[in-house]
Amino acid sequence: MSGPSDYQPQNAVLKWVERRLPIGGLIHSSFIAYPTPRNLNYWWTFGAILSMMLAVQIITGIVLAMHYTPHVDMAFKSVEGIMRDVNYGWLLRYMHSNGASMFFIAVYVHMFRGLYYGSYKEPREVLWILGVIIYLLMMATGFMGYVLPWGQMSFWGATVITNLFSAIPYVGDSIVTLLWGGYSVGNPTLNRFFSLHYLLPFVIAGVVVLHVWALHVVGQNNPAGVEPKTEKDTVPFTPYATIKDSFGMACFLIFFAWFLFYTPNFLGDPDNYVPANPGVTPAHIVPEWYYLPFYAILRSIPSKLGGVIAMFSAIIVLAFLPWLDGAKVRSARYRPLAKQFFWIFVVDCLLLGWLGAKPAEGVYVVAARILTAYYFFHFLILLPILSRVETARPVPNSIADDVLRKSGAKAVVSAVAILAVGGLALLGNVSSARAQGHEQPMPPGLSWSFAGPFGKFDQGQLQRGLKVYKEVCSACHSLNYVAFRNLADQGGPSYSEAQAEAFASEYKIKDGPNDQGDMFERPGRAADYFPAPFPNEQAARAANGGALPPDLSLMAKARGYDRGFPLFVFDLFRQFQEKGPNYIVAILTGYEDAPQGFTLPPGGNYNLYFPGHSIGMPKPLSDGQVTYDDGSPQTVQQYATDVAAFLMWTAEPKLESRKRLGLQVMLFLIILSGMLYFTKRKVWADAH
């Protein structure tokens, strides 16, 4: 497509460089003069969106690596340090973690677009296969990145995924040991995953260059699926595609910013805010949402090796698509049957994703098997047959003809609707998969001052909650990630620095060794962290009948529960992020007498909302236990609400600045998108 460049620099320096390295000509022919079909729709902007997301991930990733420590004892803490102490660290980390999801959303749209319009067909086979390679690399990179925070899901995800390789006959176990660098997932594993997680994005970038190169050799496909024939069929990349892509990217950024600023943990798993524990597996191991369809395929096969083969085949089969689908007509627009089967396939994938998040039992297993069978049936049997028997409708003579006919606006709208509904069902299902399977009532939803886009902490409430923590909870529960100085931070309980210092000095902090080599106690300083009530885990267990009182710093983000359909869909729109505080209040007020027939294990206490109903902690609060100076009611309900709000602040100390910056970014992006839209219309006015 892009022949010898006619780029002629005027500037003498540029001329000098151009004769020695024709990079200006390369850029000019690739991104300015490059002819692009004039009938491309907005699904084609996802290529640019993907490039943008790759750049976002690489840049934020490089920055996060400056603050992250890849060591099993420090990884979790260093991530919390990023969230709490690094300037804008919360923004960069949420950008990176949500950015991964956005990257996958965009790549799935991009892939389905290719499937629908037959973008994999001759002469674009290599282009398509390079895309499949990029997708595989993305999956590997995303998986290893998820391991780095070293939470419970990180650790157990790493264990489960590396164990996939143990299914290989004879050498499987040796390969797994090789991957781990030890007898189990441990520090060597974390170190090599960090190294590879840093490396692979650059490999992706390299393959993306090949992908774009191949694209520029064969030219873009288009909704009509006919090759450009004359000048009239194409427009130059700049300004036409540039401005359209820019508008698409700006709209996508609005979508991204919604998650980033308002529901940053919607797509994550609460369990990953619990530090990795090699001794306890979370009740529900669920991969990140973007792997769920393949996870469902893996689990649907009742043999270990078979499941692994099926899962990998589900991806590899894509690479053979150009030869499985032999139809000469590219675009499903002119293939009435293929079009319908395409949408059935989309639904099949979405349902597989839904099943991937469900427990592998009962009817779910049967459904997953049927859908898995259909997945392979679609590629291996349906498409080859369809390409022989289907009679296609006539395709337009040229792209220019297609533009004049201009149909399919309705199809786009319905496609968007289907994808949106399906995507939401999938997303919501992911969040619903978390805390399922226990017969316990849903914690009552309370109204919180920090809910919603303009939510702010109630400072009086945080101060009362701190008092409850100090006088009651701190007897057993640590608050390891909170420093006394944080009490004076903006968007917190708003003590003055002197008050925080005075508060700290009431504590005795172990320090040392001094010049004699002895440890000693000194009054706390603002820079110190809340001291833990027990010197180590063993001491904590010994004092609590074998149960370990968990650290409370992240409790409000580390607990969730199933809200069920369709609440979770609304949750995304109304920015519901208060499961943790609701749950904490429910636990603290949920102590009851055990019902008839319920036998409590020794040392257990009956709690309506605790999973399994038997909780080690005895009822901690009673009316009048803590004295409030501000006249608030001294009831269990009030104590529980106050301490839950306080713990929401300790878990998400930057909540207020996040929402404030979010509003500014949203307003900016909406204005920018609007301006880009009108600019795009002006630019394209000439082309229509």
């Binding site: 102490d85 804008y88 420093a483 100085r485 900016f668 992006l669 920018l672 880009l676 009108f678 600019t679």
Partner: protein
């Protein structure tokens, strides 16, 4: 460049320029968090709080080294002779003229507190060495006197005095 550039600016041009300007503002604003994150984080800033140092164990003629904000601080209990040496030097002989009195706290004339980082390229000078009984930097041979002032060598300035105050006669707060 075609002839259209010489025409009157149109509404279309205005839209293009305005859109480009808004996008540019966004790009610049986006860069800020990526630059700001390089600054010391809150825990580092908090750890840089002032420290108390007990001077009682430091005998006359002795020097101790403490760390504040990752920097070595020399605290020197100078002998009478060392103080007199420092005060006898005419300012005109000094590359970076400062009186000894201005580098110590009044009433605590024997105590010299300086940041022990050579002002040349950041090495740590050795105390009680060199031709001036002060500090000698082993890297490039800079020599400081008993007041921590540069006397010879490539260093351009005296060893800086950190902010500190006497809490009691035997206790100082650095920072």
């Amino acid at each position: 460049m075609t002839t259209s550039t010489s025409a009157e600016p149109t509404r279309r041009d205005f839209l293009y320029v305005a859109t480009g300007a808004v996008a540019a503002v966004g790009a610049v604003a986006t860069a800020w968090p990526f630059i700001s994150q390089m600054n010391p984080d809150a825990s580092t800033v908090a750890a840089g709080a002032p420290i108390d140092v007990d001077l009682a164990p430091v005998a006359e003629g002795q020097a101790i080294k403490v760390f504040w904000r990752g920097k070595p601080i020399y605290i020197m209990n100078r002998s009478k002779k060392e103080v007199e040496e420092a005060r006898a030097v005419p300012l005109s002989q000094l590359p970076d003229p400062q009186t000894d009195q201005s580098r110590v706290k009044e009433g605590h004339d024997q105590w010299l507190v300086v940041i022990g980082i050579c002002t040349h390229l950041g090495c740590i000078p050795i105390a009680h060495q060199g031709d001036y009984d002060g500090f000698f930097c082993p890297c490039h041979g800079s020599q400081y006197d008993t007041s921590g002032r540069i006397r010879r060598g490539p260093a351009p300035a005296n060893l800086p005095v950190p902010p500190y105050a006497f809490l009691t006669d035997t206790k100082i707060k650095i920072g």
